[in-house]
């Protein structure tokens, strides 16, 4: 693996400029959906759900919605978004003819994807706070968590993108990986309500440790297991980040 340099910031700046120029074409939709889910599931379904400790259902799902939609943001950005830039717009080809390397470009893409997670996570957090669903001041660390989570999911997405033969391939990525994870990572139901085998599988899904940490930061209730969750996120991030730099170099420098 070749390391990336500080020049990745140039790609991040390029993506930021484009995002803030075109934000109205995309951002409102990506914020409206989590709010709809929060209200529909939290208040609608929540009316029929009784949690063991008397917690309101909408309070239970809010941390998971934040983590889940932060995941979606980075995943969309670094699958469809990155693929369009790479294959249709040939933006990567243009950039690697300048002093930037492939690694700089990919790191810039990943950190931009993570920035999208941070933005989404922070906005939903603010809305949840308005609904009075955020009791603990530890929740101020949610943007940090969302950014870290974003690096992880952006890296996994870029890795998949580096192998994607066509833009349609991302349908698989979302229907077989991202969406199932959203439902089996403890966002809507406690993992303990699943059979043992599903519980074990859940812990392999990278969203699960994020949901646990998000829930802890928002409720202010911590547990020693959270260190494992954090270690797992950091480990997966380092792993996928490094592999994606290698596979992207292979794809782009033929």
């Amino acid at each position: 693996m070749k390391p990336f340099s500080w020049r990745f910031i140039r790609v991040w700046q390029r993506n930021r400029d484009v995002f803030f120029r075109l934000w109205h074409s995309e951002a409102p939709g990506s914020i409206a959906e989590p709010i709809i889910i929060l209200v529909a599931m939290g208040l609608g379904l929540g009316a029929y759900v009784g949690l063991v400790d008397g917690q309101k259902y909408i309070e239970f799902i809010a941390p998971g919605i934040i983590a889940g939609y932060a995941m979606f943001s980075a995943s969309f950005e670094c699958t469809y978004g990155s693929y369009v830039r790479m294959e249709y717009q040939k933006t990567y080809d243009a950039i690697i003819a300048t002093p930037l390397s492939v690694e700089d470009v990919i790191a810039g893409e990943i950190f931009w994807g993570a920035t999208r997670s941070l933005l989404t996570g922070t906005i939903i957090l603010a809305i949840a706070a308005i609904f009075q669903l955020v009791p603990s001041p530890w929740a101020l660390l949610i943007p940090v968590l969302a950014f870290l989570e974003g690096i992880m999911f952006a890296s996994i997405a870029i890795l998949f993108t580096s192998f994607a033969p066509a833009i349609y391939s991302f349908n698989y990525y979302f229907t077989l990986f991202i969406t199932p994870m959203f439902f089996f990572s403890g966002v809507f139901f406690p993992l303990s309500s699943f059979p043992k085998i599903v519980q074990t599988l859940s812990w392999i899904a990278p969203l699960t440790p994020v949901v646990h940490l998000s829930r802890a930061l928002i409720s202010g209730e911590f547990h020693i297991d959270l260190l494992w969750a954090l270690a797992l996120i950091i480990g997966l991030t380092a792993l996928f980040f490094s592999i994606s730099l290698v596979t992207m170099r292979r794809r782009l420098t033929v």
Partner: protein, 303 residues
């Protein structure tokens, strides 16, 4: 002084030898042309020299720096004008240039000054706030060249710079390229346009199947392979054999092209009196680089 030097440069794809052991030397300040049919290996060669594609074998030095270890420094002094439009469609014309300047770490004020300058150089000043999709094909091409100049490159690498341009646009680009050469910018020019190569290039290399077949100044190649004039002789099918025998007996260099015979180096010998006496069947024209191209790479499609 050499500015680009390749040694045993080779690029192999799965079952294709795209560039086959090329030793190339480009002098500082010259315009060096790469000619060759589609698939000759020109673009593969250029991609290696611009450090976006790693060689399978061999090495490249640019300004004495080994490209393997100094690719960043080398890319900083290169201006690359690709064959395919890779302008950023998410940005306006001016933003394209400003964003590109940022990749080279050019400070904002300076970037703005240079952007304005290259836009007016290529007569795009009034399009600065347009979106890329609003530009005509010719404007996009000119913008691509303008973008390649944003870092004041010492070496400009152009892949088919005037493809798709109307005559006005073509001459504008030729003018600007000649001006840049007079300012000392070295140019490596890939083209299919023989006129362009003749007008712009100090030396050209004719590539075929990954190898350089011949190399020299355009006029030098023309006199070496074709002579100063080409005689095109129209022959009736029944007289063909007789004419060919006649040409052979005079030791003339000729080639059959469709229903015609092209005779080369005719100034060195006397043409058959019979032929000269039939002016309607004979056309004399100045030899061009295109004749050299056909002589060296053949007339059939290569791909």
């Amino acid at each position: 002084m050499l500015i680009i030097k390749t040694r045993n440069l080779t690029k192999k794809f799965k079952d294709l030898l795209a560039v086959d052991d090329i030793n190339l030397e480009v002098e500082k300040g010259e315009c060096f042309g790469l000619l060759g049919p589609n698939g000759a290996g020109k673009t593969s060669l250029i991609r290696m020299i611009t450090a976006v594609s790693p060689p399978t074998r061999g090495d490249i030095q640019v300004l004495g720096n080994d490209l393997k270890t100094c690719s960043r420094q080398v890319k900083a002094i290169l201006g690359v004008v690709p064959q395919l439009d890779n302008l950023d469609p998410d940005l306006t014309v001016l933003q394209n240039l400003m964003t590109f300047a940022r990749y080279f770490d050019i400070p904002k004020n300076e970037a703005h000054r240079r952007s304005t300058e290259v836009l007016s150089l290529f007569e795009l000043g009034n399009k600065r706030n347009s979106h890329i999709r609003e530009l005509s094909g010719g404007m996009k091409r000119r913008l691509l060249i303008a973008r390649g100049l944003i870092n004041l490159p010492q070496i400009l690498v152009l892949d088919e710079p005037t493809i798709g341009l109307d005559p006005q646009g073509k001459y504008l680009v030729w003018d600007k390229l000649a001006e840049l050469k007079s300012q000392g910018v070295t140019q490596l020019l890939c083209t299919q346009n023989m006129e362009e190569a003749t007008v712009l290039c100090d030396r050209v290399a004719i590539m075929h199947q990954g190898k350089i077949l011949s190399l020299g100044p355009p006029q030098g190649l023309i006199s070496r392979y074709v002579g100063s004039e080409v005689w095109e002789i129209e022959v009736d099918p029944e007289e063909r054999d007789k004419t060919i025998k006649d040409l052979e007996s005079r030791g003339l260099d000729f080639e059959e092209v469709g229903g015609k015979i092209h005779a080369f180096h005719v100034e060195a010998s006397e043409m058959s009196r019979e032929l000269v006496n039939l002016p309607e069947r004979l056309r004399r024209r100045p030899a061009t680089l295109e004749d050299v191209f056909f002589r060296l790479t053949g007339r059939s499609l290569v791909e």
